[in-house]
Symmetry: C2
Subunit: 197 residues, 2 copies
């Protein structure tokens, strides 16, 4: 197959992105060739700007273009509650719930199954915040898998050592989910966490 | 939800692309933020280069960065057979079959159901090639739908007027397909086109 080299190069670059397979990469590249040149430039510039102007907040680790980030600067937010998450994308999801506390993002692709160990997490800014004494509760919003479980226990230990309450997100049936199709661990957790109505 | 403005802008730009929904746009944008800066620049540059350096070949309409394109310049290709396709992406697929003739790409999002009519197709380069007298057969590789059918008949008429044979791609069962699940029109065409073995 003969493809013009700049087209082939664009397809190769798009293929490096997650969720983009060969067919989608080709389709996107051919679409980009048909975009008005100004729009193609805007897309390219948006990539460069995002990569260069967005960085983790030095206080909470959330992605920001000002330091500290808008959430850390927001005086109306509850300073007594700190939600710990693995990734900025988790914060985006939690923000949609209307949560009004602050955050701490671990910002690490953690892989306990691989070579990582918990000491590699840079927790200094986290410990500093706990030591400051304002925080009353740490909500561990870690993924409900083995790694999340291990990390949650580790972080909860640190919080308790600073006299701060540590909580985890509740496990249970997803809203709109079907009991028939729930896996047994989720169902067991939902039973254990049952509430009076 | 508070997102850093350059991140929000990147998500908006990615959302303009086909097959990219809000979740994928967010995932891609967050991935781009974690790419090494040099790689993010390469991706951005690939978009600009592809858009600026690739254009339709003046002879066949296929996408190229040199004029005429590599296929038109290839003297080993059969000059007597011309394959007409709607889009450059169709050529990429046909090239994979080992087809060795030349091409003519209509390069138009044709929409007979909308306001377009056949006169809007710029067919001058096509007619010029037919008039030159080298071409013996025009293979109409148009999509097997109503618009492709109408366009095929129109182009076949032009070819025959120039004393050139016009053919269409065969209809039939896709290889690996299942007779049970074939639609009735495809199955009827497969029956009509049956071959002695």
């Amino acid at each position: 197959m003969r493809l013009a080299r700049p087209l082939e190069n664009l397809i190769d670059q798009l293929l490096k992105l997650p969720t983009i397979g060969p067919k989608t990469a080709q389709r996107l590249a051919l679409y980009i060739l048909k975009m008005p040149p100004a729009e193609a430039r805007q897309l390219a510039q948006a990539i460069i700007d995002a990569r260069e102007k967005v960085f983790p907040c030095s206080r909470c680790g959330y992605l920001t273009d000002s330091n500290p980030c808008a959430i850390c600067q927001d005086e109306s937010r509850d300073k007594e509650i700190l939600c710990v998450a693995e990734e900025a994308s988790d914060i985006i999801a939690i923000e949609r719930t209307g949560y009004k506390g602050r955050y701490y993002v671990l910002n690490k692709n953690f892989n306990l199954m691989g070579d990582n160990n918990l000491e590699e997490l840079n927790l200094d800014p986290f410990i500093k915040q706990l030591a400051a004494g304002t925080i009353k509760e740490v909500v561990l919003a870690l993924n409900p898998d083995i790694e999340g479980e291990v990390m949650a226990r580790y972080l909860a230990g640190i919080a308790v050592n600073h006299g701060v309450k540590a909580t985890r997100l509740a496990h249970g049936l997803p809203v709109g989910g079907d009991i028939e199709f729930a896996d047994e661990i989720t169902l067991r957790r939902a039973l254990e966490g049952r509430k009076e109505i």
